[in-house]
């Protein structure tokens, strides 16, 4: 077994998870176990389904055709079965992404599709769907000195009513172009999947393991016509709605009948944060402009929003 610290959990895994932070001297009962085993093609009593997934009470079946099937149960167990001829190494990225996301949802957590860095001791979150540029923005911020918390999955938990996130223990995932443009070649690790030019990258400035209160949330939007890069404060209603839409795999909370929990969670989070839309060119065309704008925002210059 391999032991990792991931998304605030201790994870025991029957395969190597190259992008995760290894735990040494691990003895306590793990929060989650990942192991190879037989995975059915269909779930009995599935209540919701999609082209690649089925959800039943406390179980999620996920199929990546030709690669592997995953059965995620009770918020604590992921069983994977590689397709014939596929290696464990090829599917580890799906364990760490969609399967782990489903497991976190099963635990009833507020799992956001967001990257995060530390700003003034608090977490600043950047939300957006795949391809919105979360990872490259987070990487660029780390490159300019901010500490890295996560680039993809942000699990929000409340302590005494205050929302926190913890570093998810995983590395950055960056496409070859971004690695090059950000001059991060020396930090580059293996490809997240063989044959795909997306790499694990050690963050230049990892944040110390601690809880970071959520301070600000930025929803990434792409410039659609002739408008400048800009940051705009969102109303509470828009914030709560955008938070719900930014759930990691947003169909899962609905399929798991967790809408009420999410409504409560998003409302509570909304009360504690400043939320903005961050509208900019995607991905790199105006990266510097975007970074300067964020810096100005954080210095308070030119903004009376905070």
């Amino acid at each position: 077994m391999n032991y990792y610290r991931m998304c605030g959990m201790n994870v025991a895994a029957g395969l190597e998870l190259p992008g995760a932070a290894p735990l040494s001297g691990f003895s306590a009962a793990p929060d989650a176990i990942v192991q190879r085993g037989e995975v059915p093609h269909e779930l009995q009593n599935a209540t919701r389904s999609g082209p690649t997934w089925q959800v039943a009470t406390s179980r999620v079946l996920l199929q990546v055709p030709g690669v592997a099937r995953f059965l995620i149960s009770d918020g604590s167990r992921i069983v994977f079965e590689p397709a014939p001829g596929r290696s464990d190494a090829e599917l580890s990225i799906f364990v760490m992404g969609s399967a782990m996301g489903a497991l976190l949802h099963q635990r009833g957590l507020l799992v956001l599709h967001a990257g995060a860095v530390v700003v003034d001791g608090k977490a600043a979150l950047f939300c957006g769907h795949s391809g919105a540029g979360k990872s490259s923005l987070v990487a660029a911020l780390c490159q300019s000195g901010r500490s890295f918390i996560t680039d993809d999955i942000a699990v929000v938990q409340f302590h005494d009513g205050v929302p926190f996130i913890v570093p998810d223990g995983r590395r950055l995932k960056l496409w070859a172009d971004a690695v090059e443009r950000l001059s991060l070649t020396e930090y580059r690790g293996p490809a997240v999947r063989e044959g795909i030019e997306k790499y694990w990258v050690n963050p230049p400035n990892p944040a110390p393991q601690a809880r970071y209160p959520v301070g600000e949330v930025f929803f990434l939007r792409e410039i659609r016509s002739q408008e400048p890069t800009h940051i705009e404060r969102l109303s509470s209603v828009d914030t709560a709605r955008s938070l719900r839409a930014t759930a990691y795999r947003p169909r899962l909370p609905a399929a798991m009948d967790q809408e009420a929990t999410w409504f409560t969670g998003c409302s509570a989070l909304t009360r504690h944060i400043h939320a903005y839309s961050l509208t900019r060119q995607v991905p790199f065309d105006a990266a510097d402009e975007c970074l300067s704008m964020l810096d100005a925002h954080w210095r308070g210059a030119g903004h009376d929003l905070r």
Partner: protein, 290 residues
């Protein structure tokens, strides 16, 4: 023999608005959108068109499959496209007019990408490849010879990035001839062919015939209003005022001359010959002089 797509069903269904890039697809979408909106003034070109959500976007695929498409090979993505498109269309619960530039291709398991259970038919718009080459070069900021290379190559693709993630999934263009052939010669779904040049010279008549195929009801006045609201001068004026979100390069305008036959003063004889040599049989089949 296919007769038409028939009237819109109440369950989700997809009508493809298909063409090689720069062949008049966007113009046709504005015709349809303005008709369906039925307003006194032209629709905002940057506003919602009311033709349905973009089912072909990468994030739609990721959302409905719960798999990050960036981690899949193009072949793995293609294999999941029919069920993903069906699931997305079923959720919409009404007719979606979906732009597509991909050739009519098949996944590795033999399934056609665009003939899932919700696919009802296609409008196919074709334009003289010599005009396409000129427009393509302008639009993507490459010289005309390179645009011709891409037009003539059966390997040409949109969205095929391996070192970064594009907002679109890979679309195989198959070259101009391959593209036209793939859509016109498939027999899975009904197709209505429109030549850009005919749409230009008799917009009202061609649009009316397309509407009949689509089972869309409209009065003569409604059709005339939609044609006026989608006129190239209107589209250009709006783009000048507020830009257009579908530009490929921020500095290059999307709506250009919008004419038929402008290649005559923009292509050299050699360039025109290269296109004809590679595409003559299909050009002749479609009535383009060679």
């Amino acid at each position: 023999m296919h007769t038409g797509a028939g009237p819109a069903m109440t369950s989700g269904e997809i009508i493809w608005l298909s063409s090689f890039p720069k062949s008049g697809n966007t113009w046709f979408r504005f015709l349809l959108a303005n008709l369906k909106a039925g307003r006194r003034e032209a629709l905002d070109i940057n506003g919602p068109l009311g033709l349905g959500p973009n089912l072909m976007a990468r994030h739609s695929f990721d959302d409905v499959t719960m798999i990050a498409s960036g981690l899949l090979t193009p072949e793995e993505i293609d294999r999941l496209r029919p069920p993903a498109l069906d699931a997305l269309a079923a959720e919409v619960g009404s007719r979606v007019y979906q732009k597509v530039h991909c050739g009519y291709t098949r996944a590795i398991d033999g399934q056609p990408l665009f003939a899932g259970r919700t696919a009802r038919g296609a409008i196919y718009i074709v334009r003289d490849p010599r005009d396409v080459a000129v427009s393509l070069a302008h639009f993507s900021g490459v010289d005309i010879d390179r645009a011709i290379d891409s037009l003539n190559s059966t390997d040409s693709c949109l969205g095929q990035h391996t070192r970064r993630q594009g907002t679109q999934l890979r679309q195989q263009l198959l070259g101009w001839t391959g593209h036209v052939q793939s859509w016109l010669d498939q027999t899975d779904i009904p197709v209505h062919l429109i030549r850009f040049e005919d749409l230009k010279s008799d917009t009202t008549g061609e649009f009316r015939r397309a509407l009949d195929f689509l089972g869309e009801q409209a009065s003569g006045d409604q059709v005339i209003a939609a044609v006026e609201h989608s006129d190239i001068r209107e589209l250009r004026a709006q783009e000048q005022r507020s830009g257009f979100r579908e530009r490929w390069l921020p500095s290059v305008t999307f709506f250009r001359r919008g004419e038929a036959g402008s290649w005559r003063d923009e292509l050299s004889p050699e360039q025109s010959m290269r296109i004809v040599e590679a595409n003559a049989p299909m050009m002749q089949r479609l009535g383009y002089s060679v």
